[in-house]
Symmetry: C2
Subunit: 338 residues, 2 copies
DNA sequence: TTGTAAGCGTTATCAG
DNA sequence: CTGATAACGCTTACAA
């Protein structure tokens, strides 16, 4: 393989100086049109491609964002994060950014990775997923003045009002509200909600959409709130019990597709295939089994993340804290009916 | 944020020259122990971290490998590839490599990405997944002398015998053989195989393990080979028909967890919960529904991929075609009984 | 063993 | 608008 052409080669071929070539690439408007065209032809002819590392060294930006690939397969719903990473990679490429992966088994280990990646100038910014209450990562990043955004809202009390960093999240309540509306539309009179026990932010949010929608329609919710861990067999057993009672629900809105799968199986076990099940996350399982589910729209979330990180038109991460408005974005999910 | 320390800063702090610092980092054995220790203390004290881009520019290697994140969610089995990417990232980090993502909607677009990444010196090598017959990507990479390995064996006739590049794959036949043995052990007398129609390499491989195992046990396979597309509802319908016949199988080994899910549902529909179903890929669905499945061991595959790419102990991609032995590795999967 | 010098390919600065 | 010069931070000869 012959040596790759450099700006110098292009400059010689086009009969201009190196700088002019660089200008054509980075500030085309500053170069006279005919010169520019000549340079562009030379670039084309030589198959020139800027050397990423050299540019990074010079500009002191890597044009790369780091994201952690989650170790927990996260059960059935793991697919959501994967789709997000995919969408992020695609959208980032449109803006001239690359996506670099890292892994970590604990928050401490992750912070070590963050440090290593940022200090080695491998990345300009991070996208954090799966944020949790008391998350040490966000504090570390703020403290070290590293640009980042999170997919997942801040859960700490102080942050909810005036978050100190940009975040994107899905409006879970809107999702379950749509699911509940759908169930009512389909003629369900008793719409249950199958959610998680521990008061988690995400869980509360999703339950709220269901509860408020029933209220708005003047339909009672009493006794229709079922609680179970994020586990298919548990959900299946719980729903089997519920469906065997005197006054079973005729529809159930679920906080996840795992729970929905459990509900679907329970209904199937009991020959109650008329039970309307609505899931959350729109995983392949929902598609395969044919139950409706709330789609998180990873592509919109990804685009939003980048907007927050870079501003809506820029092609570089906002390094300057000049616009330190830690904005946020709540994406309204979409119900996929089946 | 103050300017990050450089080798020069460390050198000054340790009272040595820049080069000595570089030597401590890259060839420690060449520096006198006490000097080395002094330098190491200075590095620690300053929190020095080598600048990745500068090093890359100088050494002309990026210590990064590129991998495409597959656009097709790939249904239920998509999780396998995701686990592979995760394992690859983890193993690569152990060897001082990073993993950079890219996406593409078509092979042509992908080749454009390969070109851009390699010519921009963003990556040293690629890992290709989802190879197929007549794959234009491998040819392009060979032609341009770009190091790479594939997860998936070569499917083209010419390549199978003496492959022109290193590849890793899962021994599908061994997986279905183990599944079939398991079914027989559990007392099944009629063990069926649910696979895909079109003669795909992967599909044929997986069927072979089943067929050969039955032969070895002197058990007939006639009429026990069922065929269906990779689609849960189709598999469910097909198995419903099969189970309604006079001489239904009492176990069914499946070419994927999607098919297994279909089979499981069909059995459940008919109240035939004693049908032994074995899947392939060990996805979260198999776990959730409690059927056995063949686990591909992504971690081993990932480790093997890197061995092929770098040699088993090196920390750098074999750029030199000095050792151009395009080796390969067939990983024996493991049956997860449930 | 350590230091000196050069250069990887790019872009920023500033003169023409 | 264009071109010379100087970094960016690092490593690799080669010389001391």
């Amino acid at each position: 393989m012959p040596r790759l052409p450099t700006v110098t080669d292009v400059a010689r071929a086009a009969g201009v100086s190196r700088q002019t070539v660089s200008n054509v690439l980075n500030s085309p408007e500053v170069v006279r049109p005919d010169t520019r065209e000549r340079v562009e032809r030379a670039i084309e002819a030589l198959g020139y491609r800027p050397h990423a590392s050299a540019r990074r060294l010079r500009t002191r930006r890597s044009s790369t964002i780091g994201i952690r690939l989650d170790p927990f397969a996260n059960g059935i719903s793991g697919a959501v994060l994967d789709r997000y990473v995919h969408a992020l990679t695609e959208r980032a490429a449109e803006r001239g950014l690359r996506v670099l992966l890292y892994t970590a088994r604990s928050p401490e280990e992750e912070i070590e990775q963050l440090r290593s990646l940022i200090e080695g100038a491998d990345v300009d910014a991070f996208v954090l997923t799966s944020t949790f209450r008391g998350d040490p990562r966000t504090g570390w990043l703020l403290e070290h003045d590293v640009p980042f955004a999170t997919f997942g809202r801040p859960w700490d009390e102080d942050d909810v009002g005036t978050p100190r960093y940009p975040w994107v999240d899905v409006d879970g309540a809107a999702g379950t509200a749509a699911a509940t509306e759908y169930a009512l539309e389909q003629g369900a009179r008793r719409v249950g909600f199958l959610g998680w026990p521990a008061s988690s932010g995400t869980g509360d949010d999703r339950e709220r959409g269901w509860r408020e929608t029933l209220q708005a329609h003047g339909v009672p919710a009493d006794g229709l709130r079922y609680t179970v861990e994020e586990d298919v067999p548990q959900a299946r057993r719980a729903m089997t019990r519920v469906l065997s009672r005197d006054d079973p629900p005729d529809a159930v809105v679920c906080a996840s597709d795992s729970l929905a799968l459990g509900a679907h199986l329970a209904a199937s076990d009991l020959g109650r295939s008329n039970l309307l099940v609505v899931g959350f996350d729109n995983t392949p399982v929902a598609d395969a089994l044919g139950f409706a589910s709330v789609e998180q729209l990873p592509d919109q979330i990804a685009a939003g993340t980048l907007d927050l990180l870079m501003g809506s038109r820029s092609r570089a991460v906002d390094r300057a804290r000049a616009a330190p408005r830690p904005a946020h974005l709540l994406v309204t999910p979409r119900l996929v009916r089946r």
